[in-house]
Symmetry: C2
Subunit: 239 residues, 2 copies
DNA sequence: CGTAGTATGATTGTATACAATTATACCTAA
DNA sequence: TTAGGTATAATTGTATACAATCATACTACG
């Protein structure tokens, strides 16, 4: 599995806290809980058949993940994401994806490189067939391979977090006409650059790849954010 | 104070959980708890005069902050930091500090710019006098002004987290011969670039500034991977 | 009619009791 | 003597009880 997966799957699977955490997280990402909605400990506890304790602990984690905001003695509210947040995250992420590709060029193993190649060729096949789900999975996997290959658990942790964070606002990015194929072409170029040990080129390509993904998402309206109360106001939009 | 300060000071001050969180965090950062040391809920609870509940919740936060690692049904252990972790973090941070300076060039207010100028001139004075504590404070403040000025709570959150994280391994970075003055010269150049609205130059300078800080730290052995009990706290005292 | 104050209910914060799991020590058998 | 297993202690995981705080609505008074 992933060496750098910070979420311990064991915990998430066997502890109530972990299960609650994942459940709430999924519900926020899927849109079941909307922005600024209040999450009540007893309600969620009853819904999941657990007491308040694991729910509360899950809340603390969710807050640190940035998915909810806890105001003392009041409650937990689903964090609002503005369009600017999304843009900022993509711009930050594009830098770090570039760095990741650069480092991966140096540290990637033969095995990982082969999986990268396989990934690209497989994605070509599914792109031709129009298999969107498989495309999405392969896209995910492609990036995760690079996260592992960069040999930095710090960078991997960041990128995994970012990736999961943007899932909140992403619809089916790859489903729009042709982007899936174009995206995979970019993957291939990145892979080739890494294979050729051209770190700078890999960095630049990965960087652009992310920018293109964002541009495409915006251009086609493929993400959605719920209008938030303080969005237009100054950045002071908290408590 | 800081618009983008994610740690709610209210919570930290008035809730047991917040106080416990800060206390443990300080103890890890100061070296009271060493790497791989096990933190026991009852022990810490008794030491601070609280029950296990707030301690446990603080643990969950500390884990997400990356300071401890919780293994299910076993315990909480202080996270080990390797030399490579430190290097990676500085290289990532140098990129993001550059991005921050670039964005700040666009969004900085007149007031913030003036505080930046004042900061640099004041630091010059204290550098001449050899006031190390004041230098450390001003260094902190300089970067925090940029974090605010970049107009991105996402980026600010990242950089603040990084900054606090590296406090674990930093000794008195600025105290070594001449680095304080050199560092402030770099600050001045960054400030001037921002003032001249030269975003690219500001970015490059901030980027280099961070790399230089790291190089200096490594060259002079000014960081310690294994914190030891009773050692001098981080130079960047924060209140 | 409107406002302030208070009472009541709801919700979170904390403490404690109990269950489950893990570590340790001692005992037994080869 | 040592390997293995069981009993006991220690520790974490979860549930529940109690305290503190906040929101709401109603009442009294102007």
């Amino acid at each position: 599995m992933h060496n750098y997966d910070v979420k311990q799957e064991v915990t998430d699977k066997y502890s109530l806290r972990g299960r609650v955490f994942n459940k709430i997280r999924e519900d926020i990402l899927s849109g079941k809980y909307r922005e600024h909605e209040e999450l009540k400990e007893v309600a969620i506890g009853e819904e999941l058949g657990v007491s308040r304790t694991p729910v509360r602990e899950a809340f603390r984690q969710l807050e640190l993940e940035g998915l909810i905001q806890i105001v003392p003695n009041k409650g937990a509210y689903v964090t609002g994401i503005t369009a600017k947040d999304v843009e900022d995250i993509y711009r930050i992420r594009s830098l770090l994806e570039g760095l990741c590709a650069k480092w991966a060029t140096e540290y990637i193993t033969q095995e990982q490189l082969e999986e990268l190649e396989e990934n690209v060729y497989l994605a070509d096949f599914h792109a031709a067939k129009g298999h969107l789900d498989q495309m999405a999975d392969l896209d995910n996997r492609f990036h995760h391979i690079l996260y592992e290959a960069c040999n930095s658990k710090q960078l991997a942790r960041l990128l995994i977090d970012f990736h999961e964070y943007v899932l909140r606002v992403r619809k089916k990015t790859l489903s729009s006409g042709g982007r899936g194929r174009i995206s995979n072409d970019e993957h291939r170029q990145i892979m080739e650059a890494i294979k050729a040990k051209d770190a700078d080129r890999a960095e630049a390509l990965a960087h652009e790849h992310m920018i293109n993904a964002y541009d495409n998402m915006v251009k086609n309206g493929l993400y959605h954010i719920y209008p938030s109360y303080g969005e237009d106001g100054p950045a002071d939009g908290k408590g």
